[in-house]
């Protein structure tokens, strides 16, 4: 990379030395004042305290901070500034970092979305029901499925949705008791195995073999008349596409099981393949990933769950349907598996995903998957030139999909700096620390960049220049990397307290009790020396 030197910016994170909110304020100060009950109301019902049943009235006021409105605003603005997040380049693999359009945000914050109640009559929310239905049609076009719902509050919750649909399907056939096994792979997201177990299934996990995916032989050995379903992603997080997937689906169907496609890694294949044509019964899209809705640091998110006509009767209710010209919430679904979350989903996020779909269109979606795969292969080519980095599955020469898992095993052996240390150091250059890998780590010291379609070639070059620079640092001065970050809000945290019941402090009141700090001024911890 030295043939094209890139100037790395001088960067330091904002440091506000911001106290914990519990330490702020002054007795009696107010950030919100509510109207007094009217004289007419008091006249009719008496004082508020007379309306509280005997013995229930609170006697000790909660020890919340007492702040003026600008004081509270300023505190949280400082915390905003102490959050790097997506302010620069984030290639956080498996999460498909996208531009979260401000226009969608502005629309979703308007009262015609924000201040709508989910139990309003259908005729009073035709706009939102239309948006949901039209987006459903778009997802059907992309997947070949027959019906989508949006009740799941995230990708894991969509996997859980698949669990309850699977239960209801097998129960309807009188086979649920016997069909108590879910098959998945070690490279499928942990939520597939976890939700299946939480739903009462036994989990059978297939390991990877020399081609980079489990063999058909291993699958055959796992399948039986106890098989309830297969939960699988494809391509996986290493960037490997399983070319046998159609045969997998055929085999599972032959044994009476259902096939669920976890489309966590959809960005590279959108418009290129469809779950339905591969034989799947159901699939899931993450609207906060592939479809441009913001992540919010962990939700509100949406796992859009779609299935075939055969499974649709079992979907959690309500389902948005269109009759003639009107849209409605269909609650009258006799075979429904019930609900997995109250109401019908994180509607603003569905709306933002719909906006993304409209803005991209069939041309934009096709181009975006092209660019994602192109950009990842461009990065594969360039990252291979950096010392200490190796690609997972080195024996597989074919081009990877939209992301690739890399390893810092060599760097760690050579310098003692592994993926955690390098991630910490990245933040010193203003770059969001990378995603390593889900558990278990199959390759040593993993990291998983995903370029996506938003970032420019210059952005990708910059990101790789940071990695190259850190590799140089690791070989020249490993302590610099191991003790990173140096330009961040705080230094490395000490993690020993986090697993020690005597020391962990999950609220301020626990902290005060365990660590002997009073909440008085003068004995407060500070964010910097």
């Amino acid at each position: 990379m030295s043939d094209n030197p890139i100037h790395l910016r001088q960067y330091h994170a904002p440091v506000w030395d911001e106290p914990v909110v519990m330490q702020l304020g002054y007795p009696g100060r107010r950030g919100q004042v509510f109207p007094q009950p009217s004289a007419a109301a008091i006249d009719k019902v008496g004082t508020a305290s007379s309306l509280i049943p005997k013995g229930l009235a609170r006697t000790n006021a909660p020890a919340l901070p007492e702040m003026s409105e600008p004081e509270a605003q300023r505190h949280y603005l400082h915390l905003c500034q102490e959050t790097l997040g997506m302010l620069n380049i984030s290639l956080f693999g498996t999460c498909t970092m996208k531009y979260n359009a401000r226009v969608s945000e502005a629309i979703a914050q308007r009262p015609f979305v924000a201040d709508v109640h989910p139990l309003q009559p259908d005729e009073s929310m035709q706009g939102i029901l239309q948006a949901i239905h039209e987006f459903d049609l778009g997802l059907r076009a992309l997947s070949g499925m027959d019906q989508f719902i949006f009740q799941a509050g995230g990708g894991a919750d969509a996997a859980y949705t698949n669990c309850v649909v699977t239960r209801a399907y097998h129960k309807s056939r009188g086979e649920l008791k016997r069909r108590n096994e879910v098959i998945t792979s070690i490279q499928a997201h942990p939520c597939n195995a976890a939700t299946a177990a939480a739903a009462g299934f036994k989990v059978v996990t297939l390991n990877l073999e020399e081609n980079g995916y489990p063999s058909i032989g291993a699958l055959k050995a796992a399948i039986s008349d106890r098989t309830a379903a297969l939960f699988i992603n494809n391509p996986d997080d290493m960037g490997i596409y399983n070319p046998d997937i159609k045969e997998w689906v055929r085999l599972v169907h032959e044994a009476g099981g259902l096939c669920f496609y976890d489309h966590a890694n959809f960005n590279g294949v959108m418009g290129k393949i469809r779950a339905r044509e591969l034989g799947f019964d159901a699939c899931m899209f993450m609207l906060h990933k592939t479809f441009g809705a913001p992540k919010g640091g962990g939700g509100p998110a949406v796992g859009a769950y779609g299935c075939t006509e055969a499974l649709a009767p079992f979907l959690p209710k309500p389902v948005v349907v269109k009759d003639d010209k009107a849209y409605r919430l269909d609650y009258g679904r006799r075979k429904s598996a019930g609900k997995i979350r109250e109401f019908f989903g994180n509607v603003p996020q569905v709306l933002k995903a719909y906006a993304w779909l409209l803005a991209m269109g069939r041309d934009g979606i096709d181009e975006a998957s092209d660019i994602s795969v192109l950009a990842n292969n461009y990065m594969d080519h360039k990252l291979a030139q950096i010392r200490g980095l190796t690609r997972s599955n080195p024996q597989i020469a074919k081009h990877r999909m939209e992301m690739t898992r890399w390893s810092l095993g060599t760097l760690k052996t050579d310098t003692g700096c592994g993926t955690v240390e390098v991630a910490n150091r990245m933040a010193d250059y203003g770059v969001d620390p990378w995603w390593m890998s889900h558990e278990p780590w199959i390759v040593p010291e993993p990291f998983t960049p995903e370029a996506g379609e938003m970032y420019s070639k210059e952005d990708l070059d910059y990101w790789m220049a940071v990695v190259a620079k850190i590799s140089e640092e690791a070989y020249a001065n490993p302590e610099l990397v191991k003790s990173a970050p140096h330009n961040q809000v705080i230094a490395q945290i000490k993690s020993d307290a986090l697993n020690d019941p005597a020391k962990w402090a999950i609220t301020w009141r626990a902290y005060v009790r365990k660590h002997g700090k009073s909440s008085e001024a003068g004995s407060k911890p500070h964010a910097a020396e």
């Binding site: 911001e18 914990v20 909110v21 950030g31 919100q32 004042v33 009719k44 508020a48 305290s49 919340l64 409105e69 509270a72 603005l77 905003c80 102490e82 959050t83 790097l84 997040g85 531009y99 015609f112 709508v116 009559p121 509050g153 976890a194 739903a199 009462g200 391509p235 070319p243 393949i273 913001p294 992540k295 919010g296 609900k339 109250e342 989903g345 509607v347 603003p348 996020q349 906006a355 269109g361 069939r362 041309d363 979606i365 660019i371 292969n377 461009y378 080519h381 070639k457 210059e458 952005d459 970050p485 705080i490 230094a491 945290i493 307290a497 999950i506 609220t507 902290y511 964010a527 020396e529």
Partner: protein, 468 residues
């Protein structure tokens, strides 16, 4: 058309032929298509996607969406008396500003150092809620109140090794359906049996005599709410917890956090685990997309080791005197242990946790007292006003908060017909309970957003509507 195809998409930095060519050249590939070599030809979709072309213009996109969404009615231009799990409350402008900030809106995870500010805001969510609840452990929120109940019930089943829970026969059907799924169907080996305890017909409170027959050495937990689904304060909370404890069962209580400035927290009455909705704390209804659920407990290892979601702890850093935040007891989650983890976790409603933190800091102890008293006064005023209308009665004699049951059966008109007519007055009437065993009753919700004039307007509209 030809011109359009050459326009780079504003959301894609590499949407230019020259850049694509440069990258292809670097890779040494002949075409982008060649990069898809892993996918067998018979897997490929070769027909055109049945989607329109993209709308690259922001102004055109905005117009398209606002035209569609303008067909919605909302609490902004109507009087809203619907609650039942999602409530019309005031959202302070500062809350909207903070959760709309790109720093908080868009991050994915980061590190303890680089996303420090967000982690601190999360800790402040837990810390402030902990003060309201008088509890030392508050997890980051789960998807909803119903999901929080479900995870808490499963937690107690693991803790006690028992597989029965007791809940009231009157229960929000939305939450109940979620809970039933969390308890698993009877065919599953770990099915948790749900036993329903009667409520007293007059008071609406849990029937203690019946409770004694339902709780046994098989009971993992008793779960009840105060205020209940129908808005009633559970006056016998301490006695319920005592009965549960007598049989070695845990007590889980659901509570509306907006009551906690005026009402003692469930921990005072013996609650072991407390759950509830987070939407009242500064989150818009969002067509139901504003919901979230909190979980809290005492700081005892047996509880902490059973949380399915994330717990944020304050801790030290390598720099003396400096503090930071990290995940406590994190290995037990599904990220750490896959199918052997505690239930599962993943994306939840963490942005709303920040909304909640900002909201609680704006209210402080005085604000929570004030809003609690205002909601009490306004909702009771509304109940009295409606009870003055011939044919209308208020069900249940116990104290209530925010929500109450209005019985219209004496008017000879159905709730459905009344609510339909109220729409002409730009009013959303209360939730129709007719399908829930309470014929021609409705659950009305009155909060701090309703002025006395609003309530008078409701009363006079209903008077007109129910006139024989």
């Amino acid at each position: 058309m030809g011109v359009r195809e050459q326009v780079g998409h504003p959301w894609m930095g590499n949407s230019l032929p020259a850049l694509k060519q440069q990258m292809l050249g670097e890779i040494g590939a002949g075409s982008i298509e060649a990069l898809f070599e892993q996918i067998p030809e018979d897997h490929r979709l070769r027909q055109r996607l049945d989607l329109p072309l993209g709308i690259k213009s922001e102004s055109a996109l905005r117009r398209r969406l606002t035209d569609m969404l303008s067909r919605n009615e909302s609490a902004d231009t109507n009087l809203m008396f619907l609650g039942a799990g999602c409530w019309p409350h005031h959202v302070p402008a500062v809350v909207d500003e903070i959760v709309g900030r790109t720093e908080f809106l868009t991050p994915v995870w980061g590190s303890a150092q680089s996303d420090f500010g967000r982690n601190q805001a999360w800790f402040e969510y837990a810390s402030q809620l902990g003060e309201l609840l008088s509890m030392e452990v508050v997890g980051l929120p789960v998807y909803s109140w119903g999901c929080a109940i479900g995870h808490a019930l499963r937690m107690t089943a693991r803790l006690t090794g028992r597989r029965e829970i007791v809940i009231a026969e009157v229960f929000d059907p939305e939450r109940l359906s979620v809970v039933e799924n969390y308890c698993e169907p009877t065919d599953m080996p770990n099915h948790i049996k749900i036993r329903r305890v009667k409520v007293d017909a007059k008071s609406g409170l849990i029937d203690l005599d019946d409770l004694k027959t339902k709780v046994s050495s098989k009971t993992a937990a008793v779960y009840f709410e105060s205020p209940s689904y129908l808005g009633l304060f559970e006056a016998n909370a301490a006695e319920i917890a005592r009965i549960a404890r007598q049989h070695g069962a845990e007590t889980i209580v659901g509570v509306d956090p907006l009551t906690l400035g005026i009402v003692r927290p469930p921990a005072d009455f013996g609650a072991d685990i407390v759950v509830g909705p987070t939407q009242p704390l500064g989150v818009h209804m969002n067509c139901g997309g504003g919901v979230g659920g909190f979980m809290a407990s005492r700081d005892e290892e047996r509880y902490v080791r059973e949380y399915n979601g994330f717990l944020i702890s304050i801790t030290e850093t390598q720099k003396p005197g400096q503090f930071g935040f990290g995940l406590a007891s994190a290995h037990q989650t599904s990220y750490g242990m896959r199918e052997n983890g505690k239930d599962w976790t993943g994306n939840s409603v963490y942005l709303w946790a920040i909304a909640n933190a900002v909201y609680m800091s704006l209210l402080g102890p005085q604000g929570f007292r004030e809003i609690g008293e205002l909601i009490l006064a306004q909702s009771h005023y509304a109940a009295r006003r409606l009870a003055e209308i011939p044919g209308i009665a208020i069900r249940y004699s116990g104290g209530f908060f925010k929500e109450f049951v209005v019985d219209f059966s004496g008017t000879g008109k159905s709730v459905a017909a009344i609510n339909k007519k109220l729409r002409k007055h730009r009013i959303f009437g209360g939730k129709d309970l007719s399908a829930e065993g309470m014929k021609q009753c409705a659950l009305y919700c009155v909060t701090e957003v309703h002025s006395t004039e609003d309530i008078d307007r409701l009363a006079s509209a209903i008077e007109q509507v129910v006139k024989p």
